[in-house]
Amino acid sequence: MSPAAGASWGSLRAPFTLPVARIWFTGLDPEQLRSLESSYPAYLDSSHRGSGHGDEEVECRALRLDKPPGLPIAALTRDGQYAPHTVAGPDSIDLIGLNFQARVPLYPSGEPGWLGVTQVHELVQPIVIENFLRVFSAHQALRRGGVVLHSAGLVVEGRAYLFAGRSGAGKTTLTRKGHAAGAGVLSDDINLVLPGSEGYEAHAVPFTGEFGRTLAHPGGRAAFPVAGLVLLDQGERLATDRVNPSTAIARLLAACPFVNMEAATSAPLFDALTGLVAGLPVIALRCRCDDGFDEIMTAVNDGFAHERAA
């Protein structure tokens, strides 16, 4: 798969600053640049300055494909959900989606990546660009001892609470409750956790689920200390349970997309999750649709306190 020699859409470029690195999208045409600026204003940084983890830079070329990839839907489905086909290489990950192809670079010092579509407006469609960004972020997080986690990320009193769970566990419902109660929302779908100077930090990222981007956070530079991790399930009544380390690692591993089924990332993922579980309180939470957010947070904080005291 190599349309890297294909034509660019234009001559414009834009820096997209993620917590893990800065991506320079090059070869953009004016429409694509305007779409990026309007869809992700907090992540486009016109000044060329470092930002801690974002000091590393990679290039991603916007390319014009002659035709759509043409893979059957069955090849783009996993567990009943849309999932681009991935091929892992030593220095990059190739993605093939319904209407795009991409090469996601793994190392800043390596070959540039690229993102190809057949229609100019498709490049900045969330189903295209965010698949690129998610895969990129997951691999870069791992390089730094962190993870990208399927989770609802809520900020309460300056601390991030990550509620991990697969689709249908109630992440978006919890996010809506939290938002209505005044909590900050990082994401209702995928959150980025990285080791920080004093523990772990959850970072704002441009990936959202149904809830959409609502937090007016300052793009990739917003980071919140993580209070703990919650393994979310639906249940008959509101309750928290202690979780032993092996179960915690297993549940979190299942919630780490893009890297949990790759041989090359298996060992670093185990390392990262072992560190997370050792460094943060992890509890299981069962709750119902009609449990109030305040009651949920009281139960969670009590659970964390018991876990720290144990």
């Binding site: 996993r78 567990d79 032993n244 380390p245 092996s246 179960t247 690692i249 297993a250 549940r251 591993l253 299942a254 949990n260 089924m261 790759e262 041989a263 298996s266 060992a267 185990f270 072992t274």
Partner: protein
């Protein structure tokens, strides 16, 4: 699961990656994404299956390591192998 024929050897699938966590183990199947937790005995069995083993070898290893009778070891082993087989963790050689 019935007792394995003496000649058959078993090995951990090449699609499995695992890590010991305390006395338990976490396994992930790279092809189907399934994640399993095994207890101390299961972790021992998984460790033994890094190289091909017969059922007899595995049962003897369990009996020696956990100081249980050969019959108990064989019964435990049958249960574990059935579970691991159902999760496509094993390769039959």
């Amino acid at each position: 699961m019935n007792a394995q024929p003496d000649q058959e050897r078993l090995r951990l699938s090449s699609q499995i990656r695992h890590r010991a966590v305390g006395e338990e183990g976490v396994l992930v199947h790279l092809a189907n994404g399934r994640v399993l937790v095994v207890n101390e005995v299961g972790l021992h069995v998984v460790g033994q299956l890094a190289v091909p083993r017969t059922h007899k070898d595995l049962a003897a290893s369990i009996a020696e390591t956990f100081d249980v009778s050969p019959d108990q070891a064989a019964a435990d082993l049958d249960a574990y192998l059935a579970e691991l087989d159902a999760e496509q963790v094993l390769e039959h050689l």
